[in-house]
Every structure is written in structure tokens, then in C-alpha cells.
């Protein structure tokens, strides 16, 4: 299966950069997935979770509060205002990331359903890591 480069950038630095097999993004009009060789597209993202399937088939989740994505045939760049990656080596690191993610969710003064869905998603993502 083909891979492509994914970059997630925030004003405070790079959250993710590397080769991935697929990525699912929370678009403003609904969730959509991107595989390699996707047609070029630039669109807005809302608060939600980005699911990344990495080269080794491991899945990683990144929570964002708002963003823009620029899809190219061999590269995807996500510009997010705030982002937290749910990952870590140990249990404490993962729970710390989870805390940060929840904090970010609380800061979004938005309607409840999207937040509830996102919060459920990051919880499961964190559990699958443990």
C-alpha cells in the first residue's frame, strides 16, 4: 500500500511528521479520509480527532481545535491552532497527554455534541495504547 507524508503544525511547533498509510480528518462538512494520491484539496477542519494510520499500521490520534488542511498528491499538511497528540511510552505519559487533550477540549467554547464525540474518541485512543 502506498504511503504519503503527513505534517501537523501548530504555532508552538510540529506535532507530527512522517510517512503514513492513511489519515482521517474532521472536516467542517464531515469526517473524511485521505489515502495516497488523493486529488489536491484545501479545506477547513473543525474541532475533532485526526486518526493517523502509520507505516507500521499502528494508529495514532491527534486532537485539534481548529485547522486547515492542504492535501496534495504526495503530501498532506495540517495547520492547527491547538493540537495534542495522544501518545506516550508509559501509562503516566499517556494519561498526561489525555489530560492536556481534555484541557484543550474545555477551551473550545463550542456546541456539545462534537466535543462529546471527540472526547469519547480520545478516551478510546488512550485505552488502546495502554
Amino acid at each position: 500500500m502506498d504511503t504519503f507524508t503527513l505534517e501537523i503544525l501548530t504555532p508552538n511547533g510540529q506535532i507530527f511528521s512522517g510517512k503514513v498509510r492513511s489519515v482521517t480528518l474532521p472536516g467542517e462538512e464531515g469526517e473524511f479520509g485521505v489515502l495516497a494520491n488523493h486529488a489536491s484539496l484545501t479545506t477547513l477542519l473543525t474541532s475533532g480527532v485526526i486518526d493517523i494510520e502509520k507505516e507500521d499500521k499502528k494508529v495514532e490520534s491527534v486532537l485539534i481545535n481548529w485547522g486547515v488542511v492542504q492535501v496534495d498528491e504526495e503530501k498532506v499538511v495540517v495547520l492547527a491552532e491547538g493540537a495534542v497528540a495522544i501518545r506516550g511510552e508509559s501509562e503516566s505519559e499517556i494519561s498526561k497527554a489525555l489530560e492536556e487533550a481534555k484541557q484543550l477540549l474545555n477551551d473550545i467554547a463550542d456546541s456539545g455534541t462534537a466535543i462529546a464525540a471527540a472526547s469519547a474518541k480520545i478516551e478510546t485512543a488512550a485505552k488502546s495504547l495502554l
Partner: protein, 297 residues
Amino acid sequence: MANLKDIQRKIKSVSSTQKTTRAMKLVSTAKLRRAEDLAKRSRLYAEKMNQVLAEIAGRIECSKIGGLDDNRFFAPEENPKMIDIIFVTADKGLCGGFNIQTIKATKNLIAKYQEKKVKIRLRGVGKKGIEYFKYNEVELYDEVVGLSSKPDKAKSDEFIQASIEDFKLGKTDAVYIVYNGYKNMITQELHVNKILPIDASDYDCDQTKQKSTLEIEAQDEEHMLNSLVETYAKYNMYYTLIDSVAAEHSARMQAMDTATNNAKEMVKALNVQYNKARQAAITTELIEIISGVESMK
């Protein structure tokens, strides 16, 4: 001849000043490293943001008749009536020409627009600049202290939001930011940035048409553009603050380094003077003794 004690006191005072300036230099070096790191990390984001914005703007410009002309954010300013000038200075002094450079550039910009009979709203960030304009009785529309030494995204968003809103409503015709930015460890670079309206005129239409593009509804692009422009302006403000902090620390580091060196030289010169005075005193005493002995003979 200077009194020995006076010279000694002077030496003591200068060397304690030297200690202070050296400590300040070290503090600035440490802070600079952190600020520089932050600026470096967000520069990547800034570049990408500009790229995305330019691309979308270009796409709308190229694909539609009339293009962006009806979009206020991209219309070039013609005969502006009122403009916003935001200046960013440090909250503290002792950093060489850092603040005064920004103030001078701001004054030049004001003079340039006043000549054209444009009304100016001056919005200030940083205590030093605010103090200067207040002392010179220049009216400030808005002022924030504490933001330039500790950049905070939420506060900076709030500050720039007022300018964006006024621009949107047509109260102002342009928004400028004047600040001193970081170039490298020893140089600062003065920036006068026009944040709004955005200049998208140099976009190449032919290049876009060659790329395969997934077309979404056109309304979507306009809507996207508007929310992007706000983010762009907000982010620019935040980046300005980060860049300014880095520059402030590098300027202070340099100024304190020079001050330390000057103090060192001064101590050296004073020491020579002290030794000379001491020798002169000894010689006088000797002469007194010898001439005393001579007269006893």
C-alpha cells in the same frame, strides 16, 4: 591629584555595576535561547499559513470573474481615510537602541500618512513606546502593557481582534504593525508589516490551472478565506510578539555585553590612576623624610 579613597570608592562602584550588567547579560542569554526556540518553531507554521492563504486567494482570483475585488481583505488600499498603526516595543529598557528604533519607524510612518491627511489610530504594545508617545502628547487609541514581555496567544488575539473588526466594518482601511524583529544573535531587523489588507496580486494563475484540484463548492472557498484571514492576522500578531521578545533579549544581551566591557576598561583605567596616585603619595612622603633628614645634618 585625586584622593586615594575617592578612587577606591569609584573602582568599587564600577566593578559592582559590572557585576550587575554581567548578570543581566547572562539572564538575557538564557531567555534569548528560549525565545529563539519558540520563534523558530512557529516560523514553519507562519510560512505554511502564508502559502495556504496565497493559494486560496489565488484560486478565487483566477477562477472567478471579478476575482477578489469585492473582498475587503484583499482590496488594495486606495485613498485610505483611517488606518491602524500597532507598534510593539519592550516593557523594559536597557537594551540599546531597540525601543527607540521602533519608535522612530512608527513616527516616520505616522508622518508619511499625516501628509496625505489620513487619520491615524495608534495602538501600542509595550511600556516603553507607550511612555514615549504619552510624554510627547501623542494620543493613543489603545495600549497594552505586559504583552510584549510575555506573549500570550489569547491576549494577543483579543488585542488584534478589535483591529480586525474595525477593518471588517470599514472603520479603518489598513492595519500596520511596526516592530523590531530578531535576525540573528547580534542583529535586529526593523519590520513595518501591512497586516490588512493582504496583497495577493503577484499570484500566478497559469500555475494553478496545471495542477489537479478537487473542486468544492465555490462558496466554501470564500467562507474558508474569511476565516483564514482572521487566523492569519491573529497569528501574525502573535508571531510579531514572539519575534519581538527574541529581538529584545538579543539587543539587551548585546547592550549588557558592551556595558560589561566598558566597565572592565574603566576599572582598568581607574586602577592605573590609583597606582599612580599611590606612588605619588609615597614619593612625596619619601621626599619629606629625606629632606627632613637632610635638614637635621
